[in-house]
């Protein structure tokens, strides 16, 4: 029963672990102290990944829907079934939904399958656009679509700013590095309406009203300029549009920002002073499910660029991905707006290069993400889906109308039940594959156990499917796919299994110049000047209409940050993490709404008293959970309660779940 080294597959931190394999089963897990990022730590999820790997809810053979149920079929039958249907459809009628938990090789191949064989540009990950927006903001600003800094040097930082979300829950081990730096003397500032664990530990916690983080960041930039604390030399040498940006900032009145956000000028000054004094400064924000919106990310980037913290060793702006291979999936071009390696779909030369590389003609029409396809595109007839959580289930009625849903998955889940044909696939330890964490660290996970009999890895099934559709890809191993990736995607140029087998990951770009990977973006190596990212929205209305405020005085935020993993189909298959993440729900079996201590005492509410949350179009009954963690005037309902109060939330959730900057005006009534 030896321990095998590998990488945790839960969140985008990519911690090193040892799996204890007994027979063909994983019977335990242990951290790896030598891992450069996790340094011997795991979070509650990582400590129980073996519980997930034990699950018997596996899909073990191809299935075709026959009437109301599935019947097992051979791979050949399933392939024929798909070929038959796909031949009748054009690219515009198809969409492909990838999984951010799948490996780079699998996602690369899925993208290649979509673009070269299905001839569709409708391909994306889930509905959350945060990672895509983050990549676009950073590409526009500095030409580098991910973390510009490094986590290895975090402990030496002077200043860390964390904006939005709850990193301690989402990416605990990255948060642990931040907490550690803070205990070592780093100045830690948090901008978040909720009093998260990190906020409680911060020297400075700014709690702007919901929906106003963007304005606060703009205000901070304005304060920075007023304090004349900017480095003109850096701006003139390394940026292209600083004058225009400075001119725009002049339009901002600090008093208005103070009024809007509820943050005083003194607090803003404290933050900007610490930022500008620091030699080494990092900003963190989550992408994916708890993401900020585009303009807020842009404002954060601009603030750091203005402070001269982009492109210098020991500083940077660090988006953090919530799911294991979210970054890698985008690297592979599983997006309607990026080709592999982040070439823009508007770049004709990039298309030609790709056609050359793949030796086929490609469609140029603008693709859409799957969420948009399902809500807006009437033409969509078929969907290809890789192992998916239930996020997209709100389109269930639209999905039911489709002619063909092909599902590739390791585990049963509600999405799979909608499929017409299901192909099993291996779990992440049943086949080799690389995964790219938040830090751009590409890590090889090697096969440690045999899949259930007859289960093929996704790359093989896709290769079979390609062949059945007349394309001989001729891959002999998953390693050969990495060979192709390294030829196509410059960031991955210097990567190979051979190299990755003897290292605990390498951070892209790994190329001839940086054979051992690259720690951080350096202005000298950027190959271009940086630019302030366009934002708009200063002129937007400040708060809701006054009449609405009177009738609906509370701002309701529907959040996923704290409890994100709750409704995750992966988490449901564990024991202890499920118990821990449900502990709150067990205490409030009928769901809860969080209300500030101040409001509760003003309204005379007791803990667990039933209340009615009334919005313009719907209402819901919940128990009050009195909390010091939220601001007066706000209410907070965690998204996982979805399961219990679908009517109310489903109407609002499409907007609300995008990020926690959205809110809904509601009023609160006691239930008598």
């Amino acid at each position: 029963m030896p321990y095998y080294r590998g990488i945790c597959n839960f969140c985008g931190t990519g911690c090193g672990h040892l799996l204890r394999v007994e027979g063909n089963r994983v019977r335990g897990v242990y951290p790896v102290s030598g891992h450069p990022l996790s340094r011997g730590r795991l979070c509650v999820r990582g400590w129980h990944i073996h519980e997930l790997l034990q699950t018997e809810d596996r899909i073990t053979q191809p299935l075709i829907k026959d009437g109301g149920s599935f019947k097992p079929v051979s791979y050949e039958e399933a392939l024929d079934y798909v070929v038959e249907k796909v031949k009748k459809l054009s690219g515009r009628q198809l969409a492909v939904l990838g999984s951010p938990r799948a490996s780079n090789e699998e996602n690369y191949l899925l993208g290649k399958f979509a673009r070269t064989i299905l001839k569709t540009n409708n391909l994306s990950l889930s509905s959350d656009a945060g990672q895509e927006e983050s990549a676009r903001v950073l590409l526009e600003g500095c030409g580098w679509p991910a973390m510009t800094g490094t986590l290895a040097e975090l402990r030496q930082a002077d200043f860390i700013l964390v904006v939005g979300g709850d990193l301690t829950k989402q990416n605990p081990i990255i948060a642990s590095e931040i907490h550690h730096a803070h205990r070592g003397g780093t100045f830690l500032a948090t901008i978040s309406p909720r009093k998260t664990q990190m906020a409680r530990l911060s020297q400075l916690h700014l709690r702007p009203r919901p929906g106003t983080i963007f304005y606060l960041l703009q205000g901070l930039a304005r304060v920075l300029v007023e304090e004349k604390a900017i480095d003109d030399d850096y701006l003139s040498r390394f940026t292209v549009n600083s004058q225009a940006f400075l001119d725009e900032l002049k339009q901002i009145e600090i008093e208005k920002i103070v009024e809007l956000t509820g943050i005083s000028r003194e607090e803003m000054t404290e933050l900007t002073e610490k930022l500008i004094e620091s030699n080494s400064a990092y900003a963190f924000y989550p992408t994916g499910v708890q993401s900020l919106d585009r303009r807020t990310m842009a404002a954060l980037f601009n603030l750091f660029l203005l402070a001269g913290k982009i492109g210098r060793r020991g500083s940077g702006i660090n988006p953090v991905t919530g799911i294991s291979n979210l970054l890698g999936s985008y690297d592979m071009g599983l997006s309607p707006v990026f080709l592999p390696g982040y070439a823009s779909v508007e770049d004709e030369l990039a298309w030609e290069r790709l056609e050359n590389f793949w030796q086929t003609r490609l469609e140029r029409w603008p693709g859409k993400n799957v969420d948009t396809c399902l809500s807006e595109e009437k033409d969509i007839k078929a969907l290809f889906v890789v192992d998916h959580d239930e996020e997209i289930i709100r389109h269930v009625n639209r999905i039911r109308q489709l002619d063909l849903i092909v599902y590739f998955g390791a585990y049963e889940n509600p999405f799979a039940s909608l499929a017409h044909v299901i192909f099993p696939r291996t779990s992440y330890i049943e086949e080799d594959g690389t995964y790219t964490n938040s830090e751009r660290r590409v890590q090889l996970v090697q096969k440690r156990i045999e899949p259930p009999a007859g289960v093929r890895p996704l790359w093989k099934t896709l290769t079979n499917l390609a062949l059945a559709l007349g394309h001989d890809w001729n891959y002999h191993s998953v390693e050969s796919i990495m060979g192709e990736i390294s030829q196509l995607i410059p960031y991955y140029q210097g990567l190979s299994y051979e190299k990755l087998k003897t290292r605990l990951g390498l951070k892209w770009p790994a190329d001839d110049l940086h054979p051992e990977g690259t720690d951080c973006l350096l202005v000298e190596e950027a190959g271009r000047r940086f630019q302030f990212v366009q934002v708009n929205g200063q002129e937007e209305k400040l708060t809701g209409e006054p009449e609405i405020q009177k009738e609906f005085p509370f701002k309701l935020v529907v959040g996923r940050s704290n409890y994100f993993w709750h409704q995750n189909s992966v988490m449901k298959r564990t024991f202890i993490p499920k118990r821990e993440y449900n502990a709150l729900l067990l205490l409030y079996p009928r769901g809860f709404v969080e209300i500030s201590t101040e409001d509760a005492s003003r309204l005379g509410l007791r803990e667990k008293q039933m209340v009615r949350v009334v919005a313009e179009s719907a209402e819901v009954r919940l128990a009050a959970r009195i909390s010091g963690d939220i601001l007066p005037g706000m209410l907070y309902i965690p998204y996982f309660i979805d399961e219990m109060i679908p009517e109310f939330l489903h109407r609002q959730v499409a907007d609300l779940e995008k990020n926690e900057e959205f809110f809904l005006p509601v009023r609160l009534e006691k239930v008598v």
Binding site: G16, R41, V44, H50, T502, F575, I576, A583
Partner: protein
Amino acid sequence: MYWLTKEQLLLLVKKLAEEYKIFGPRHDRVSGEVIFDHLSDWSELDLQAAIPYNPPKFILFPHYEEILKYRYQPETKEVRIEQINLLEPKALIGLRSCDLTGLLCLDRFFLDQEYVDEFYLAHRKKLFIISNTCLRPFPQCFCVCTDSGPAAKDGFDLDLTFTGRGYLVEAGSKKGLALIADLHLPEAGPEALTLKKKIVDDSVSSFDRFALENKAWISRATNRLTTGFIKPEVWEYIGNQCFECGACSFVCPTCSCFNIEDANLASGETNRLRTWDSCSFEGYTKMAGDNNPRKPVEDRRNKRFFCKLSYSQSKKYLRPGCVGCGRCARVCPGDIGLPNVVTYIRREITGESGE
């Protein structure tokens, strides 16, 4: 005492392997990790390696174990319950004294209280234990503060001390003596005792100042914990750092909390699983319905340190529950391993600042 050459060590392992499954420390080249693991290739056994990152607890008390299997057919009302018996003899080679002490704590807890834990006993029955004296402390070690090292005192079948040219071997049981006789190991003269004492003394004196200073502080902290004279603010501070990952319990050689779940299999059978658990989890004390007697995180942290150090818990193990291996300090995302907690308690007592 007897002599064992480096070459004979492999012979010894080979002899043991005839009867036992071999476990010992090995090095993972890529990560540099020392892992206490099942060794199918005995040449991987590395007795000079640092203290393994994982304690050998998993061998007797696995992370995830099926303790029962049953099949229930509601139609026929037929129930078949099977106990899963794991009586594989195992040899643990190269246990550090802290880990051996931890194992003896588990023995006292699982076997010497009101009830005997049959599942632990099944693993424990046929065990051959070879301990290995630490010639120097590793970073974070403080076994000198918890009376559990650097050399083993009892509980082993054989105890090894490396002298530079070979191993001094001491037998701790009849099984151990029989193996020595089997291998015809030469007896060491009276000078061997002096040599071992010198080796151990040298090892003790090379513990760093921090560990030696903490020796007194650990007993003062124990006193304070037992009497409850620790300010709530200290626990609150510690609670604020806690990530509730459970790592401190999982890596602790003496922590033995577990969870039990019945998992239904596709075959129609059900496995009763016993898995590691931790008192730092909120769901740990949560009762079905509407009540959690131990809610705030500091309540739960407090509980763990009380369990490790207080006198009343010591009665259970006949010693403190902490064996000074320092692993909790290395795995903790919140830096609240036991040595740091002692430091926080010390600061409270002396009024030192955080610097």
